[in-house]
């Protein structure tokens, strides 16, 4: 079960790249695994490692950002492939909040299923947070989901949007499938009236 998200404070790390795609977040060679866990070690693999060694020019490898849990990012973060391995890797690495001027739709949606809060702030606010993170070693950001606010201890405060449903999803660690299955009868009566014009037979080799 996913840990409920109410409020959170953590060290921020700035990833100053536009259009970070999910291929960069988790390269394809790690998608052959059939597990849901253990992807943190592969996060940003090609940017993070060179010949098996950590690249010092990559931001996550720098001493001052060790233990960071708030990712500052640029526009269109998480674009491309729908692979949920991307939020699995971010979450397993330790990120719980991602702040960017915009996110790609599928990635944004996937985050909420994995206890990560993606926050959209204006370009100007994101610029300011990048600047502060660069200037102040150990710079921290706090997020309060109930009041939908991001603050720091130096007077920064910004409100962010999140739909009531997604908010509940994070706050309560809701079982989405379970809650939809409560509408089983409605789904059944919908199916009785709804026409579909193809017919696939059940797999004859099925064991059930």
């Amino acid at each position: 079960m996913i840990e409920p998200f109410t409020s959170f404070t953590g060290t921020a790390v700035p990833l100053d790249v536009d259009n970070v795609d999910t291929d960069a977040i988790i390269p394809k060679q790690f998608l052959k695994r059939t597990e849901r866990t253990g992807y943190g070690q592969f996060l940003f693999f090609d940017w993070r490692f060179e010949n098996g060694k950590e690249r010092q020019d990559f931001i996550l490898n720098q001493d001052r950002y060790q233990g960071a849990s708030v990712l500052l990012a640029r526009k269109n973060f998480g674009c491309g492939s729908s692979r949920e391995h991307a939020p699995w890797a971010l979450s397993d690495y330790g990120f719980r909040v991602i702040i960017a001027p915009s996110f790609a739709d599928i990635f944004y949606n996937n985050c909420f299923k994995n206890g990560i809060l993606p926050i959209v702030l204006s370009e100007a606010d994101v610029d300011m947070l990048f600047q502060r993170t660069n200037e102040k070693r150990g710079y921290q950001l706090s997020v309060d989901l109930e009041s939908q606010r991001v603050i720091d201890s130096h007077g920064f405060e910004a409100y962010f949007e999140v739909t009531p449903y997604r908010k509940r999803l994070l706050q309560k660690g809701l079982d989405e499938i379970g809650s939809t299955l409560e509408f089983k009868d409605k789904i059944k009566s919908f199916e009785e009236k709804h026409r579909i014009y193809y017919r696939i037979d059940r797999n004859e080799k099925a064991s059930i």
Partner: protein
């Protein structure tokens, strides 16, 4: 107020609309493959749940499979386990699987349309972002993550907020020697890689109406490359003629009933889109991407741009992209030398794509220093190409002729581009490392890729001199 095509399809599938929460949307067709499904099935088992509608779920294996001789054993043990897991899951839950032995196996977005399973007005999902392809039929089709795959398996529904709508009206006429791929790359290049985020796109206008179904699929396929949640095209006679007599399409009386329903799938004249743009197709020239996202492209007659010439907001990304791509600003595209050529992927691996590429290739030879491969989108495409003799055109020219799969589009199998190598690819993404670590990808049409394989560098296919098929081998 009238409704858009998107409104009509969406509204027909709302099972329940509660307050302050997304609709429960019914899913007509759930496509699954080996990479994004194992964790979803595991989730079902952990919670003692079953697949709600195995008869509305269709599986194939395409991403991590080899495209070489299928009689040989799998060399990649991890991929083998993933494929085996899909087989076991389909058996356990009673799902129809088109496996490696099946004559219908292929890329999921190629086989569902060619089997006639993809139909107008459906809601279609798959754990794959290029599910937008099926929008070419006027189906609402989009990619989902693995948690949602599990949700659909368990409930045959999805919780969905309504998206915004974007109309792209495409006017003018697509010039001779350009293709649907050039059209969509030009649109993404003009408006940007994230232009349609949060929107369902409807492609409209005479240019779209004049495209074949396969060309429409190429256009809709790349909707996600400008951030679109889905791409839609109004179904018409072209759609219906394509579907008629397909294996899973309705027959007889049912066909007539379906047709009368499908003919109602259009945007009303008084419907309002959240955003509308007009695009003049007569400006389109054959495209080549120079950067690391599909919006970073230009015409073949251009030169590699200088970041200073781009809007300020794009400069930094352009500098980074040019460095990764190993390109100098000002370099003419037709002087860029290539190491690999890949013709395939859910964007461009259908029979028409192969015919167009073969027409360019016929009678020529692939440049010695270059490795070129053709990976048909499905076994059906492969068989048809072989019946038409296209395989021989490619093989005689020096191309590798492979079994169907996703292959070098994302390099999950052995088909990769090596570090520093440059590849002309008919696929959909030129992201860093997509085709292999350090691989440099240029997205092009099948015609442009074919011509580049012959010359060893990009050329303007509008000036290509085709040879007659008879000359092959002479």
């Amino acid at each position: 107020m009238g409704k858009t095509l998107y409104d009509k399809v969406y509204d027909r599938h709302v099972v329940y609309q509660g307050e302050d929460q997304p609709s429960i949307l019914y899913i007509d067709l759930h496509l699954i493959h080996e990479v994004t499904s194992p964790q979803a099935f595991e989730g079902l088992r952990m919670n003692n749940r079953v697949v709600s509608r195995p008869d509305r779920t269709v599986a194939t294996m395409d991403h991590s499979i080899p495209t070489t001789d299928r009689s040989l054993p799998f060399r990649d043990e991890v991929a083998k386990k993933q494929v085996k897991t899909l087989e076991e899951n389909c058996r356990e839950f009673g799902i129809q699987l088109f496996d490696l032995e099946s004559e219908n196996q292929g890329i999921v977005h190629v086989i569902a349309p060619e089997l006639g399973i993809t139909q107008p007005g459906q809601t279609i999902v798959c754990g794959d972002s290029h599910t937008s392809t099926h929008g070419a039929f006027g189906a609402l089709a989009f990619g989902i993550g693995t948690s949602e795959v599990e949700h659909v398996l368990a409930t045959q529904t999805l919780k969905q907020d309504k998206a915004k709508t974007l109309a792209i009206n495409i006017m003018g006429e697509l010039p001779k020697g350009t293709s649907a791929k050039d059209l969509i790359l030009s649109i993404i290049g003009k408006y940007g890689h994230d232009f349609a985020t949060g929107h369902v796109i409807e492609y409209r206008g005479e240019v779209i109406q004049n495209l074949t179904m396969e060309e429409r699929m190429t256009v809709c396929n790349m909707s996600i490359e400008m951030g679109g949640r889905a791409g839609l095209i109004q179904p018409d006679e072209v759609t219906f003629n394509y579907l008629k007599d397909k294996q899973y399409a309705p027959k007889g009386e049912q066909w007539e009933e379906a047709l009368s329903e499908w003919r109602l799938l259009y945007t009303d004249d008084d419907a309002v889109f959240d955003q509308i743009v007009e695009f003049d197709a007569s400006e389109v020239v054959p495209q080549v991407t120079w950067g690391t996202n599909p919006g970073q492209g230009a015409g073949i007659t251009d030169v590699v741009p200088s970041p200073e010439d781009l809007p300020i907001s794009q400069r930094k990304a352009a500098e980074k992209a040019l460095q990764y791509m190993g390109l100098q600003s000002g370099t003419p595209f037709d002087s860029i030398k290539l190491d690999k050529v890949f013709i395939g992927s859910c964007t461009n691996s259908r029979i028409e794509d192969l015919r167009k590429a073969a027409k360019i290739v016929s009678g020529y030879k692939v440049t010695d220093s270059l490795h070129a491969l053709v990976v048909p989108g499905s076994q059906t495409v492969k068989r048809q190409a072989e019946e038409e003799g296209l395989d021989q055109v490619f093989i005689k020219a020096g191309f590798d002729w492979r079994e169907s799969g996703c292959s070098m589009c994302l390099g999950m199998n052995e088909d990769i581009v090596l570090e520093g190598e440059r590849c002309a690819s008919t696929s959909n993404r030129n992201f860093e490392g997509r085709q292999g670590k350090g691989a440099r990808t240029h997205l092009v049409s099948p015609e442009m890729a074919a011509a580049a394989a012959i010359k060893g560098h990009f050329v303007d296919v509008r000036n290509w001199v085709t040879k007659e098929r008879e000359e092959v081998g002479s």
